[in-house]
Amino acid sequence: MDGDCGVLWGKVSPWPLGTGDNGVPWGKLHPWLLGMGDNGVPRGQRGLMGKAKSPPFGDRGQQGPMRRTGSHENNGVPRGKVSPWPLGQGTAGSREDKGIRWGAASTGAHGPPGGWARRSLSAGPAGPRRPSPSPAEGAGRAAGEQRCWVYHCSRVAAMVLKVFFPSCCSSAESGILIGRWISEQNSAVILAVVHFPFIPVQVKQYVSEVQRVTKVNVSVLGSWSNSKQEKEESLSEFLEDLGTIFSHEPWIQISKEGNSKFWSCSTLQKHSNNPKEEEIILVYYDQRKVMLSHLHPPLDTAASTDRKADDASKLSAIFDTVAKSKVLFMTDRYDDGPIKLTHWQSDGVEASIIVELLKQASVPACMLLTFLLSVISGICRSRVLKFWPLSFLWSKLSTCEQLGYRLQHLQVISSNKKAQNESQLMRKANIFVSLLIDVALGILLMSWLYRKNRIGHLADTLIPVADNVAEELQDLLQWLMGAPAGLKMNRALDQVLGRFFLYHIHLWISYIHLMSPFIEMILWYVGLSACLGLTMALCILSDIIALLTFHIYCFYVYGARLYCLKIYGLSSLWRLFRGKKWNVLRQRVDSCSYDLDQLFIGTLLFTILLFLLPTTALYYLVFTLLRLLVVIVQGLIHLLVDLIDSLPLYSIILRLCRSYRLAAGVKFRVLEQQDGKPLRLLMQINPLSYSSVVQTYRLPTYSCYPKDSWTSLCKKLFLGELIYPWKHKGEKQD
């Protein structure tokens, strides 16, 4: 850059010396370059004036001579008065005009405007890709619909110059514009306005320093004049001359006259000899929102990904530029500098002492947490717990799964590694908020439980309920052992099965009664786990249900195994009955000649199995229904747990309160127009829809549901294969 500067100096004038008599600007020195204010106010008083002018930033005015016309609202663009698009007759004419104008801008290079618009709409990085032949028609749609034109930079690039102007700078005083020139898109992103007076060398130094810090190619792009009174001839000349000092191609000149909403824009191209009329579009953007927002890549399908990614990068270049120059807005580092700027001003860092203190305190807390977590996970990973019966037990208890999951979350939060990108940061925040809410709900539950001896009541009702369930089951079995629903069952098998299951229930009841003195104590201690979070309590509840209905599970397994055996036996014996067999190598049924004794025994068994099938099937059906009931209850609990675990609460709150933070794209609103003045657009950020917020930031969970489709579930039920609420380890290999 220095070298570049040197060349420029050599060409233009020996600037640094300050006594240039080369005739360019010094010759007719403008009063502004001296220590005078814009309206002739001496420099010393300016601090006071700044205070008077912008009350929210009054204190900043006192910090130094630097004056920043900070604004959160876009003072320059009166949004209330913007011609409302889809409204009636009064504005219809102007709308048409705008449409034609926009179309005409493209026609010069690209043929029919309709075709251009369609292409440009379809190529936007985000937002609705609804083909709309012209902006005018798009505007005619309902207001509720996302009425926006997605900007397609590359199409417009060839003929239209786009100036992205921060709306907070619209009331800034005259000066020069600094920002980034994106030549591929033929667009200029204005970041700030440097006020008169300044010394060009200092401005250049400042710009190069900003470049170094932000890694954004910031340069002086043009001039800005905000004349409260009528235009002064000398000023315009002076501004043109500035273009030769800060050589930039093209040199943009924007001037605002009085309180007019319509600014005049022009470009100066020194080297091109033919001064062709260049169309200029002024795009206002909210600097703060654009800086803070995180542009999301479109969730497109796999087709033409690279093309869309390319388009997204075009829009994201603007977002990037603004976001990277955060330093420009945030720090007070340049306050003492001789250059006065106008841009969006942050509240500064001094307002958040409490946050700073918290940050400082969180470091040792995190370290302690990390240490504890590493100890706990070390214990969990120790070999003692890995032996067969224990590890089997761990994998079946949902509480352990949830505990492991939460441990993982805590590890993520407490790790002292910095989040590398936006999504990781978001993930951490989501985990943190979900953990916080979970624990809060858990403590709420606990406070409810431990009041008024509710645990005791619960324990007192639990035993009779279990007894009741067992009695109901006994009645059911007695019914099945008779002639249930008039079905004719094999009496001998029926009696055998019924007695077998009755004995199990007997065992179960005696077990429950053995446990009954300890139930209250167990519940009391288990209830304490609610302080670890609501999800933990729910998981324990699910496990308790599983333990209390263990007899139903046993019945189900016996019934299913028996039924499965019969079904498989019958299917293979049916093949033998027809003189066929299953060829394993070719995966098909082949004919086969069996021996006489094979045939005889096979048919004998087939007959026996066939006649015993209805009895087994009935037992299987009844117990499967019972089991499904339990599984559905457990599944609902797990669904709730999963919801709390996986919902990206932080992102959703962000979307709710600061919808611009999660941007899906932008839309442009056409502001009021005047002939001969550049088209004015207001860039607004399209917030991400809630569904895609959830989709993007959903936290991964251990899924404990069977991933079967309904048909495969029905098939499994029919074939008598066991259905588990948890996922099989072996199934993953299939």
Partner: protein
């Protein structure tokens, strides 16, 4: 005129010459049957009908209690031993030598039969308790009919499946055996079914191949015995059954030969569409 398309001729393409039908042949593959031979071959059907009849009669007597299971078992055992000896004696052991089956394997098969049947007989006894008797009768009748349909009478057809036919017979015998009063009855009934449906046809086939005269005698004797047995139960049934047997062994061959004369099968220098359907995959 030439029957070619590759040469230019003064006729349209669809022209058919008078000489076209000169090459027509009729009934090229039609066989001329002799009455005696057809009657001899129909013996297999008669035998199988009689087997089913004897089996049902035996079951009838057992169910009525007129036939003791021990007596039937002794008779069946004796006839099986006789048949076993005959089976080797008819062809002088050539068939056994060709198949390479040892006597030890025969004994093993017999033991497996006996053990399984005896072991399962109590189960068989209670198997169909709750099922209506009419259902059992209908099922058995259907199965025995299926046995007769799918039996290998020596014809080369897709529908023939000796495995299926044997299995259907066993199924029917198990169904009927479950209606007998005691488990020993069931055991004897199933054993008898194996003998009459599995072993007896094997011996018949060998007799038919080796000594046709003897086979005719055996068939006639067997048919007479079945008729006599049926006459003791129902004389009307006996008459009907006798007429059925006569129809199959005398009337049907006559009809076949008469109908053969009406056969009009044309062959010529054209390609016929042949439907080659594999019926076996439906079975």
């Amino acid at each position: 005129w030439q029957k070619v398309l590759y040469e230019r001729q003064p006729f349209p393409d669809n022209y058919v010459d008078q000489r076209f039908l000169e090459e027509l042949r009729k009934n090229v593959h039609a066989r001329r049957y002799r009455y005696r031979a057809v009657v001899f071959q129909s013996g297999a059907v008669v035998q199988q009908l009689c087997s089913v009849c004897v089996f049902v009669l035996t079951w009838w007597y057992m169910a009525a209690g007129a036939l003791s299971p021990q007596g039937l078992f002794a008779a069946a055992l004796a006839s099986s031993l006789l048949g076993y000896v005959l089976f080797d004696a008819v062809d002088g052991g050539a068939g056994r030598w060709a198949s390479g089956r040892t006597r030890w394997a025969d004994l093993k098969s017999t033991l497996v039969f006996a053990a399984f049947t005896y072991g399962f007989s109590p189960v068989l006894k209670t198997l169909t308790e709750s099922i209506s008797t009419d259902t059992i009768y209908a099922m058995s009748a259907l199965m025995l009919l299926g046995h007769l349909i799918f039996f290998d009478y020596g014809a080369n057809a897709a529908i023939v499946s000796s495995t299926l036919s044997l299995n259907m017979a066993i199924f029917a015998s198990v169904c009927l055996a479950s209606r007998l009063p005691r488990s020993l009855h069931a055991f004897v009934m199933v054993t008898f079914a194996m003998q009459i449906f599995a072993l007896w046809p094997m011996l018949q086939k060998k007799l038919k191949a080796q000594t046709p005269r003897c086979y005719v005698g055996v068939t006639v004797l067997f048919a007479l015995a079945a008729l006599a047995g049926l006459a003791t139960v129902s004389s009307v049934g006996a008459v009907l059954f006798a007429s059925l047997l006569l129809a199959i062994s005398c009337l049907c061959p006559y009809c076949l030969i008469r109908l053969q004369l009406l056969k009009d099968n044309i062959h010529g220098p054209w390609d016929e569409a042949e439907i080659k359907e594999d019926l076996s995959r439906f079975l």
